[in-house]
């Protein structure tokens, strides 16, 4: 399966947030790097069908981003995770599972699995308002995986996680990459260096680097700093 992006643009008046981006992703972990304001989040939002592009197309195996079939196989973790503070972690997962079309029994089973998997355990029965930032992030990861996605788009997934959790999440993404397209946007170079088979770098709304990445290489940070050292603020 392939995620095909052709001529994708998002303009806000004169500002080109994403400018004529074209690439194709296949199964595996794909890293997306770029300084603040490079257009990563805008791109991720368009790939998730959350934001309508000014121009261009996005399709997964020929299925357009606007269709229900695309969203049925999509897992998305936004940069800022919204949540209902009165819901318990399990309620939240069950609710999103129902919106993702899972049956109640399937959603319940999957939610319980993911609560355990993300290490939330008993906290799954507590209200989200009592969660720490790291716990909320883990809940966000759990909701992105609830429908066992073929396309997983995660925006800064490890922000707020401790080093142990980050390592665990990297392993998970790496595992998912065997049978799904994973697009991982991050500022933390080490998050993608060891697991991404392909690296995309964005600058001023354009993809300036799109090439296979050898996970044994250790010079990504150097490359990144050389390119984006000053940021784009």
């Amino acid at each position: 399966m392939e995620l095909t992006v052709r001529g994708l643009c998002k303009y806000y008046g004169d500002k080109k947030a994403v400018d004529n981006v074209t690439f194709t992703l296949t199964e595996g972990v794909n890293g997306l790097l770029g300084a603040n304001g490079a257009g990563k989040t805008t791109l991720m939002r368009m790939l998730s069908g959350v934001l309508r592009p000014t121009a261009g197309t996005v399709a997964l195996g020929g299925v357009d981003v606007s269709s229900e079939d695309y969203r049925a196989v999509l897992g998305y973790l936004p940069q800022e995770l919204g949540y209902y503070p009165d819901f318990t972690g399990l309620d939240f997962l069950m609710y999103l599972a129902s919106l993702k079309g899972l049956s109640r029994s399937h959603g319940k089973r999957r939610a319980a699995e993911l609560i355990e998997f993300t290490g939330l355990g008993d906290a799954g029965r507590k209200r989200i308002r009592t969660y720490s930032g790291g716990m909320r992030r883990r809940l966000g990861i759990a909701q992105a995986l609830i429908n066992d996605p073929d396309l997983l788009i995660v925006d800064e997934p490890t922000a707020g996680l401790d080093p142990g959790e980050r390592a665990r999440f990297r392993e998970l993404l790496s595992e998912l990459g065997h049978h799904a397209i994973v697009l991982l946007s991050t500022h933390i170079v080490s998050d993608v260096e060891q697991i991404a088979g392909r690296m995309l770098m964005m600058s001023f709304g354009r993809v300036v680097i799109d090439e296979p990445w050898d996970t044994s290489r250790t010079d990504l940070e150097e490359l990144y700093l050389k390119r984006f050292g000053g940021g784009e603020g």
Binding site: G82, F87, S98
Partner: protein, 232 residues
């Protein structure tokens, strides 16, 4: 001895067989409108349901007094009920879950519609129960009583939807509350000025139709804005 635990420790869990195929098959489940409405109803906050029931009890208590003014008191309270519905419909925006919901298989518009139907239908039942009671204990016909209850409800819903769409979070909640208070006050003010004249005329039908049109317009505008994230 916990045999389950012992077994778990003694033998490694076998890898799942055909799990992905099973999940794929389940993912294609078709969602009926009724399933969606019931699902959304299940996730409406308990305080909305309890608040609505408390409102019904209060309406019946006021009506049971048999005072001719009871209908005006009750109708000027229906904006509070409408406010609960608006708060429930604007929940995603208030808590920032719009982005997550937009990325789900069920279109957010459909999910929002299901939530509005769930809460709106419950409120309509409450008003439908209150109208005959108020009519029986008072001097006004059921239709006219129903219109008097429904008009401020619809007006507040429309205003609330418009305001919460423009202003998010706490600001939206405060403005929604202000809209409810305005409609409450307006109801009582109209009654004090033209109460008797209105009793005799058919203006109530005109007001109801206007409120229905306004609600329909607001509902359409709300759905249009749910298609994609309003973000810059």
């Amino acid at each position: 001895m916990d045999i389950k635990k012992e077994l778990k420790n003694a033998f490694p869990v076998p890898p799942p067989v055909g799990k992905r195929e099973f999940l794929r098959a389940h993912r294609r489940r078709e969602l009926s409108v009724m399933t969606l409405i019931l699902t959304e109803a299940g996730y409406v906050r308990l305080r909305t349901w309890f608040g609505s029931l408390a409102f019904l009890a209060a309406m019946l208590a006021v009506a049971s007094g048999g005072e001719p003014e009871a209908i005006w008191v009750v109708s000027s309270l229906t904006p509070v009920l409408a406010l609960m519905a608006v708060a429930e419909c604007g929940r995603s925006r208030r808590y920032g879950t719009v982005e997550l919901e937009l990325a789900c298989r069920t279109p957010r518009r459909t999910a929002l519609l299901a939530r509005m139907i769930a809460v709106g239908a419950a409120h309509l039942c409450i008003l439908a129960l209150a109208a005959p009671a108020l009519s029986a204990w008072g001097e006004t016909g059921v239709m006219r009583t129903g219109a008097r209850l429904l008009t401020p409800y619809l007006l507040t819903s429309s205003l609330g939807l418009e305001l919460t769409r423009r202003c998010n979070g706490r600001e939206g909640a405060i403005l929604g509350f202000a809209a409810a208070v305005t409609v409450c006050t307006l109801g009582l003010w109209i009654h004090s000025l033209w109460g008797e004249a209105l009793e005799r005329s058919r203006l109530w039908a005109v007001f109801l139709i206007l409120a229905l049109i306004l609600s329909a317009i607001e509902a359409v505008r709300t759905f249009r804005e749910t298609e994609v994230l309003t973000w810059s």
